[in-house]
Amino acid sequence: MAMIEVKNVTKSFHVKRKDEATGKLVRSTLTVLKNFSVDFTQEGVTVLLGPSGTGKSTLLRCINGLETIDEGDIVVDGLSVRNRHSLKKIRLTCGMVFQQTVLFPHLDVMNNLTMSPIKLLHMTKREAEEKAKFYLDKVGLSSKEKAKHNELSGGEQQRIAIARALMMNPKALLLDEITSALDPEMTSEVLRILENLAAEGVCMLAVTHEMAFAQHVASRVLFMDKGALVCDATKDDFFTVYRKENERIANFLKFIGE
């Protein structure tokens, strides 16, 4: 059974925009996901590709219950995101890391990692700290235990955010363009961590524009355009068959320099 089932999801945002003719602000609806369906199993790395504004991030945010959906349903591990009471479990099942790093600035690195497991998973402080040390080691930042977020580089913050998500024992990680705000050097730091995690079998669902990451790590590639799924293929098929046959994908890959 699929771990995450997205069934016929429609999601639109209400936006205000200036009407060209009258110059007045008018309300309009922007549909980001249209009758969208897809399944994710709990294995390997799935990469979501596609131009900006096609609903990739929105899809992740809907899965995690950060956005409500208008129609359809998303079922994570048997729980529907439409049920407010199952949101906590869903969020514990799917850890999420964002594009803009959001460590809690009032806490040091250690407390950033241990706060939630202690409060939500009822770990003792010692257990949580041991676990935090394990994951800090894994992301290569053992020495930064006591650092505050502004003493860390963007790449380091993002690695801490990954460790923080892993602290909650998620079955899958949702990664929302987590390297987009980083320079190439920091990006490679973060991607190296992700590659290691993928090699250890951590299931990931990643929105990214890093083709190298998609080519090295992904097992499955989804290509989205204008709120619809254009292609759902294994990585090898995507980079060989689809890039030749599908004009939209070929164009996208050409512009991204692949």
């Binding site: 995690n64 219950g65 950060l66 906590k88 969020r91 514990l92 850890g95 999420m96 964002f98 803009q100 959001v102 460590l103 809690f104 600035p105 009032h106 706060m115 939630s116 409060k119 939500l120 505050k148 977020h149 502004n150 923080r164 998500a165 909650m168």
Partner: protein, 223 residues
Amino acid sequence: MNVFDYSAYALFKWSDMRMILNATLLTIRVTLLSLAIGTALGLILGLIRCAKNRGLASLPLIIMEPLRNSPLIVQLFLVYYGLPSVGIRFDAYTAAILTLSLNTAAFFAVLVQSSIQSIPRAQWEAGYALGHNKVSVYIRVIAMQAFRLLIPQAITLYISQLQCSSLVSLVSLMDLTKAGQIVAQKTLLPFLVFGIVAAIYYIVSFPLARLSEYLERRTGFNY
């Protein structure tokens, strides 16, 4: 009289100084009490202002706006001289505390609201994404950061309300300012007496300003 004519200072007796010090205690009591009540009430109003429901969020404005947009002295007169004509009578002390509390609450509510709302949305989402519910995010993520933003502004408000408490002298309350007026008239030494009064206000405010600095350093972080 010449300020530098020292023989005149003999008119200023120890009993006058005692009167001023007693009045200082009243000023401190009125200020502390109304700040405590005002802070508690303001916190509640401020939290309601942050509610998602627009109607609910605008309810506190009904009392906040009049209080913020009219002079404190007028509010004080309204409560002390105006309310008795509709049958509600307060003694000067109660009227002073009531007015100062409500006035503080109105301003404090705005500070609470702006501190909470200036925490980036991403902080909420990071909390939610880790599995916290709204209350938990409020307490563990938002409140901690909002508190840091609130401190310097709140203490500025407290200091200003301490100075404003001098207005209660106008409803016949024997506070520091009133005592200063009486002693100054009696001794004919206004420069000396109001100098002392001002110095006492300063001495009471100063620790508050230092407290603000200390708390900012203790809880300090930058975005």
